[in-house]
Symmetry: C2
Subunit: 576 residues, 2 copies
């Protein structure tokens, strides 16, 4: 029982020196990757650089204790940082103390939401974000984030929560571009893109293994950080207008009590819920992919608690919302991390950086951080999925498209909400007009198939109608109309048989419709029968008076029904 | 084609003298019923009495031309009047000109919404209001309306949009009760209740037919109006504090141009949409019930146009939102109305009252109108349905209960919205954990049934899993977990067969899950097969690469799959 809530008790027991060695190597590599990322995502969230470091210490320790993934690397991630900037920006101006307060408060509320969802086993709520909507949202967020970082590459001001606002902010400033900044930013982008495209092949050619080559490629941002910081320091580029990170408050984070103001909570609750759900979905999909490769299991509800405590830890140590990151987790996995202890060791690494190395980061150009963000988020853009979704399903594509368009034009929150709303509406619309097939008996068998697709035997006096959907309120009236029209068109019909192998439930609205169908058919001298009603559905119908009022019978199989209502036709068909 | 949009062209052709006589008699009876109702519902909507009369003239003519029900009686109804009061009350104070402007504007916007829905064939949207939610909403609205009218019976002030506000408004005023008002109100309530409970039996006993007795019972409010007006006039009760209707602006309504202010439209649009949908659903359910009794058909999309033009007509003649009323339509039907012409004749009757009889209504006590409203709405409260829903389905009951509680405690708009939201959420939750059954072969047949409910033959190396739900985003992850757990628990499994007779669609999220299941099973040496995939689902799968990646086969029937994967078990089972 206790093990369920503290997964550390399970893997901790079997911890060996060999495991320690592997975890430590992975932790060193992830730390090198996390230094620039934590600074960059703090900048993306509109927060001072040390806040990114704070969000990369205690949250990792909390997740190591409560999380169920062995290799998930928790910390600041791009999309959640953008959402934090949007939500906190609604409360106060970037750079103000209230803005910082709102960001830590977001982590606090998110943490509570995630833990409550975990305790009440509400992890299933994440399923309402369909894959296409998530993909569309992440793609559009990537574009939005990249566009938002352009100002740092160009060395100008500007802000905005959607593409239009960002463009409106940038265009008037195009005359004020700072050339040294642009050179640094451009150099880092080209360097990172080239490394990604070519370095791995080169390393493989000189004899490195694929996994090792991958790790070196993923660590390239720290090299860009070191080079550009040195250049900036040596040539004094900060006095030439290149904005640098500047002095970072060093030392470990002091304990912080997040704001409990009801008004602030009220204004942040909706955004915190979105951040929680998006962060959870992103994190779980990475964790599950990696766990499957080693036959390990992720427990969804405990994952919520793991991420929730990570966010609480972030809030109490002055950080902002965190979740499991895709790229870092893959590196952690590839570098050989075996247990969540690797995350805790990474936390120690970042803590050491916070204590000893912050002065070295003074001359780190913001353009370098912006360039690492841009290159990182461009990998989020997956046009292949968009194309495949278009081919597979137009309705899924519509939901994805709505998520993309609304995210780009109206910002992240409206973007994700419109995608979810549309995917639910499309589902309801589709089930509101269910597929119905008039069926007949396949000659020489007891099977019944669609008369339009197969050559089958039918009877003029018996209408066999198969309903391919559960019966519930959105489609209750549809069936009423369907049966009424079919009977009106065929005066010879004396019996209607509803064949229900695909009817998984009948709700109260559908029951009323069935009662109406039964009564109307009775008034016109037609009896209503059912066949192949499933066990759970039959159990439920027996709790109403419907079966007593039913003019006809309930048959176990469609063949039983047909051979009872038109014995000759059924016999003839079977004999053929 | 033209006939589709102008149903009058169809029934008008066959119009005879006999039909005219029947329609005329029905019109006289409905007029007598409509006079007190139109005044009462105007009072309920917070509008001057003549506005109720205006809403009972042109809208009836418009519906007679465009509506498809032969017997629906259109005009002001209780629930829509309450919703009008709530929406207009958000704009201005009752009694102000802006309030009246808002009410006519609501009719205008509602009319446009209904017509647009009709032209774009969006009538199906009404299906998203499940029967239990509607029933719960109407019941709670009835209670709310009755509570709101108490102030008129007691002769005090007060207002409020939910039970709590109404009680808070009434309680401080209990010391100021006006006794003559209370006597009149109490008398009318007792009179109407007694008439309903006893008069019909009495009339049947003296030899009247059931239909005739019903009509007389339903017309009793006009008798109460005449008696109490005379008493009030003779004893001069208006000077004793009994509030009377007072002077009504006589004469036909002048043409009105409803407000086109974008700000007003913006503030009213949401309420107008709710009024349109609720009014449409109420109206259609009456119309369909009555049409079914005479084997006539209601065309949903044309009904939208009929009700839409009725509301436009109301707006342009200074009225407020209207729809088909339950009680009046039943009386109209029972009184022998044969065509919508009866509605037009009723309009003439109300027009004559508006021109000639308004002075006679000066001394009509408001308490009389309040009493007729209370008795009318109490019949909307249907506790039997609530009990039956509880027995049949707890989830339907939950949605109904939410509609009732939120309507009573937070008002009509939040009430209906919470009911709809909850019924959709419950549906999504239910389908997110679909029923899955492990199946085996029924001995001596080619059928496969649930191993828990039937004695069947299984194979240790083949897992036959029947999924009883369409596969789409809310349940995609569920299936992943289900298969992964089952395979992890049974190491002997070499083949998994997903049996899909109840899978009516597979969306892009579910496809990704199936790909993940296929890949994970492949990695652990298990092949994945499908059986009984339906035609439309197969068509869709063929538009993806899934079938090429699939490790196993797609079988036409479950028996084919089982006899291929474990021939011996299948043969043995068939032979038994």
């Amino acid at each position: 029982m206790l093990k369920n809530y503290f997964p550390i008790l399970e893997w901790g027991k079997a911890y060996s020196g060999n495991t320690f060695g592997n975890d430590l190597i992975a932790a060193v590599i992830v730390t090198l990757m996390l230094i620039p990322q934590s600074l960059a995502y703090a900048m993306l969230a509109g927060l001072p650089p040390q806040v990114g470091l704070y969000a990369s210490i205690l949250p990792l320790v909390a997740y190591a204790i409560f999380g169920t993934s062995r290799t998930l690397a928790v910390g600041p991630v791009a999309v959640v940082s953008l959402m934090t900037a949007v939500a906190a920006g609604d409360i106060a101006a970037q750079g103000s103390f209230d803005y910082y307060l709102a960001a830590t408060c977001l982590a606090f509320i998110s943490g509570l939401i995630l833990i409550v969802m975990g305790l009440f086993r509400l992890g299933f709520l994440a399923n309402f974000l369909s894959h296409p909507v998530i993909t569309g949202f992440i793609t559009a967020s990537g574009i939005l984030i990249a566009a938002g970082q352009l100002k740092h590459i160009l060395g100008v001001g500007g802000s905005g929560q959607n593409l239009i606002e960002i463009a409106q902010g940038l265009i008037p400033q195009l005359g004020k571009i700072n050339l040294p900044t642009l050179v640094i930013g451009g150099f880092v982008i080209v360097f990172l893109v080239l490394v990604r495209a070519r370095l791995k092949g080169l390393l493989l050619w000189v004899g490195l293994k694929s996994r090792g080559a991958d790790i070196i490629v993923k660590s390239s941002p720290i090299i860009a950080v070191i080079i550009t910081t040195l250049i900036c320091r040596v040539y004094g580029l900060d006095s030439a207008g290149v904005r640098v990170v500047g002095s970072i408050t060093g030392g470990l984070p002091a304990p912080v009590m997040p704001s409990l103001s009801p008004e602030l909570w009220n204004r942040l609750a909706g955004s915190a819920l979105l951040i929680s759900v998006i962060g959870f979905v992103e994190s779980v999909s990475v964790a599950q992919t990696l766990a499957a490769k080693r036959r390990q299991r992720i427990v969804l509800d405990q994952e919520l608690i793991g991420l929730g405590t990570a966010n609480l830890a972030s809030a109490f140590s002055g950080g902002f919302p965190v979740t499991g990151g895709f790229a870092r987790s893959v590196v952690n996995f590839d570098a050989g991390a075996e247990t969540p202890a690797a995350g805790a060791f990474t936390a120690v690494g970042i803590a050491l950086v916070t204590i000893y190395l912050t002065p070295l980061l003074f001359y780190l150009p913001q353009a370098t951080l912006a360039a690492t963000i841009i290159v990182a988020v461009l990998s989020l853009i997956d046009l292949g999925v968009i194309r495949r979704t278009w081919i597979y399903s137009k309705s899924d594509f519509a939901a994805m498209f709505a998520a993309i368009i609304f995210t780009l034009s109206a910002g992240v929150e409206l973007g994700i909400l419109s995608g979810v709303a549309l995917s639910i509406l499309i589902h309801l619309y589709r089930t509101s007009r269910p597929h119905c097939a008039i069926v007949g008996q396949v000659p020489g068998s007891e099977h019944f198939r669609n008369i339009l697709r197969h050559k089958v035997v039918t009877s003029p006096s018996v209408l066999n109608l198969r309903v391919d959907e559960s019966l519930y309120f959105p489609n209750a009236r549809f069936l009423e109309d369907k049966v009424q029209n079919l009977v009106a068109e065929n005066p010879a019909i004396r019996h209607v048989v509803l064949m229900c192998p695909a009817v998984n439930s009948i709700d109260a609205s559908a029951l009323e419709s069935l009662e109406a169908i039964n009564a109307r058919l009775r008034d016109s001298g037609v009896t209503l029968h059912f066949s192949e009603i499933k066990g759970p559905v039959m159990d439920q119908l027996q709790r109403s008076h419907f079966l007593e009022e039913l003019t006809g019978k309930v048959y176990l199989s469609q063949y039983d029904a047909f051979s009872d209502l038109d014995p000759q036709a059924a016999r003839t068909a079977l004999a053929r």
